[in-house]
């Protein structure tokens, strides 16, 4: 493949996954409880329709896109960091810290009636995630170097510890609180104001761009840490940045939406099958494709049991799990895309 051909391929991939996201956004914004068509934005329409679209559906759909993109990119870079396609955004433990922070806020503090409003739980969850990030990075740094194996072990142990702590908190919670905790953990796309979504979107896109800048380093990293170092990659810097930035993406997503599973595992895996392992194509495609996936999953969550709705994490796991098994069984290739 020539250099120009590679760039054309990148453009094709971005256009393709971008178009997919566009279709998903339009579809998801058009369907839902309450009649409101997208055309209401352009023509003379009644105020209720406009309000449903602009204040309820669009913010939620856009938020789902941002979170889906964040989780998928986090999954893809953790897979590159650990050289293991079975890694997901939650494997390194930051999600455990976020869950604990969020649940503590649910139980002991920021109720939705306070001034902090809906930001109370996410802010506490994000603080929990940052604390976990700092702790895990400290433990996994051995002799000034971030050890990937220690990182993986620390993450697994931290997740197990968090689970125990969450069970403990659940055991002392009242019945209503328990309901809130369970729904929080299952993952759902909340209602946010446009300004909040804009801030979140900016943070996520900036982080994704910083990670994508290391795409060629990730390619070299597939040759092992020494192999990458011998090709000129500053391996320690790439590992540390990837852990911190990937964890930030995960922390943002979990703080806002709880534990939405399988997005960060299945979507990078499918894209790697379709596009090959080159991270210069994979990461942009992961952002756009992951965004489209979560928008559609959230659409299903909203309409499947309407007028009630499912937690989106239930939909992603119900769809993602069997689909993942199908991919693994239905192919002569193994996990690594061989």
């Amino acid at each position: 493949m020539s250099g120009r051909a590679a760039q054309a391929r990148l453009a094709g991939v971005v256009l393709g996954t971008g178009a997919l996201l566009g279709v998903a956004l339009v579809l998801a914004a058009s369907v839902g409880a309450g009649r409101a068509s997208l055309w209401a934005l352009f023509g003379p329409a009644d105020e209720i329709e406009r309000a449903i679209l602009l204040d309820v559906r669009l913010p939620r759909v856009v938020l789902a896109a941002i979170l889906g993109g964040a989780l998928t990119v986090a999954g893809a870079v953790f897979q590159a960091l650990l050289r293991n396609p079975l890694a997901d955004p939650y494997v390194l433990g930051v999600s455990g810290g976020a869950s604990i922070g969020g649940i503590v806020a649910l139980l002991f503090g920021a109720g939705s009636a306070t001034i902090l409003g809906s930001l109370g739980v996410p802010a506490a969850a994000f603080a929990g995630a940052l604390a976990a990030l700092l702790l895990i990075e400290r433990v996994a740094t051995v002799g000034g170097r971030l050890s990937v194996y220690t990182l993986l072990l620390t993450g697994a142990i931290f997740n197990a510890f968090s689970a125990a702590l969450i069970y403990f908190l659940q055991s002392i919670a009242s019945l209503e609180e328990l309901h809130g905790i369970v729904f929080y953990l299952m993952g759902r796309i909340p209602s946010y104001a446009a300004s909040e979504i804009a801030v979140l979107g900016f943070a996520v896109v900036a982080t994704v761009v910083a990670l994508t800048a290391m795409a060629r380093d990730y390619n070299a990293l597939s040759l092992g840490e020494e192999g990458a170092r011998q090709l000129g990659v500053d391996v320690e810097r790439v590992k540390r940045r990837t852990f911190v930035l990937g964890s930030l993406l995960t922390a943002l997503a979990v703080s806002v939406a709880g534990l939405v599973g399988f997005v960060g595992l299945v979507v990078p895996h499918v894209l790697r099958r379709l596009l090959g392992p080159d991270h210069r194509l994979l990461l942009p495609a992961a952002f756009l494709g992951g965004a489209a996936f979560l928008v559609l999953a959230d659409l299903v969550a909203r309409v499947l049991v309407a007028p009630s709705e499912l937690p989106v994490g239930v939909v992603t796991a119900l769809v993602g799990g069997p689909f993942f098994l199908y991919l693994l069984r239905g192919s002569t290739r193994d996990f690594t895309g061989r």
């Binding site: 590679a6 090709l231 990659v233 090959g276 895309g337």
Partner: protein, 274 residues
């Protein structure tokens, strides 16, 4: 042809020492490799050969003494700058994801490219030429995971060529190759060294390959250099007996005029002891 003496050694160690924790694996090693030279590192398992290669390649910065590439101390050169000067062919390369052979070779251009850049037409031409030189042009589109160990080793060597290095470190690159591919690989190493004045330091287990292709040899034991010099002066019976602690038969290869080294079976060694 550039004379090694005129430009100074490209790869150099002075009083080099390295320890993994409390275990000292390399002690007081002094060696040099000039442009266009093939220099062999020979010695028993665990004698420190691979550690020397790893120190020189920059992955073990905690060494004592001096390790220099192109006149600069290895631990003070950025990975990127070092990789523009020095290519490494490891003993057992690993491949995490299913890149194609040409993509692996193109990774050799990594240190020459800017942060986000895609490879230029020139980078791609260099990678394709490297594949052709290694007799692997037909493997270009194959997944690296589908290739045999010998084919992979040729791809990795092609990657080293695409890196356009001034020096190349080979850590037993021929250990998984059949005899034809061993010879082809080292013929290629000889060509690159001679034509492009690349300094080559290679770890070898096969003493006959060493005798055939190396200009000079360092014989290692327990992390120290036991003997160093022109190949014919180093691969002698007393040296090999002392370093490997086994008997060998050393003769002259009637076809090439180089040394011929054959390890002797234990029963013959016992008879000669008696």
């Amino acid at each position: 042809m550039t004379s090694p003496a005129a430009s100074g050694p490209v790869v150099e160690a002075r009083g080099l020492a390295f320890a993994f924790g409390a275990r000292q694996v390399v002690t007081g090693v002094t060696l040099e490799v000039g442009a266009g030279e093939i220099v062999g590192l020979v010695g028993p398992n665990g004698s420190g050969k691979s550690t020397i290669v790893r120190v020189l390649s920059g992955v073990l910065p905690g060494y004592d003494g001096s390790a220099r590439v192109a006149g600069r101390e290895v631990r003070s050169i950025s990975p990127r700058e070092l990789a523009r000067t020095l290519a490494v062919v490891p003993q057992e390369p690993t491949f995490g994801f299913a890149f194609t052979a040409i993509e692996i070779v193109l990774m050799g251009r990594h240190p020459h490219l800017g942060g986000l850049a895609f490879e230029s037409e020139r980078d791609i031409a260099l990678a394709e030429q490297a594949l052709v030189r290694c007799g692997a042009a037909d493997l270009a589109r194959r997944s690296i995971h589908e290739l045999s160990a010998g084919e992979r080793q040729r791809i990795v060597f092609a990657r080293a060529l695409a890196q356009e290095p001034r020096a190349c470190l080979l850590d037993e690159p021929a250990s998984f190759l059949d005899i034809r591919h061993q010879v082809e690989l080292y013929d290629l190493v000889r060509e690159i060294a001679t034509e492009q004045h690349v300094a080559v330091l290679t770890v070898l287990h096969d003493l006959n390959l060493a005798a055939e292709y190396c200009d000079r040899i360092y014989l290692l034991r327990d992390g120290r250099i036991e003997a160093g010099g022109a190949t014919a002066d180093v691969l002698t019976y007393p040296n090999l007996k002392r370093v490997f602690d086994t008997d060998v038969y050393v003769d002259v290869n009637a076809v090439t005029g180089k040394l011929l080294v054959v390890p002797l079976p234990g029963r013959i060694q016992r008879r000669s002891d008696a």
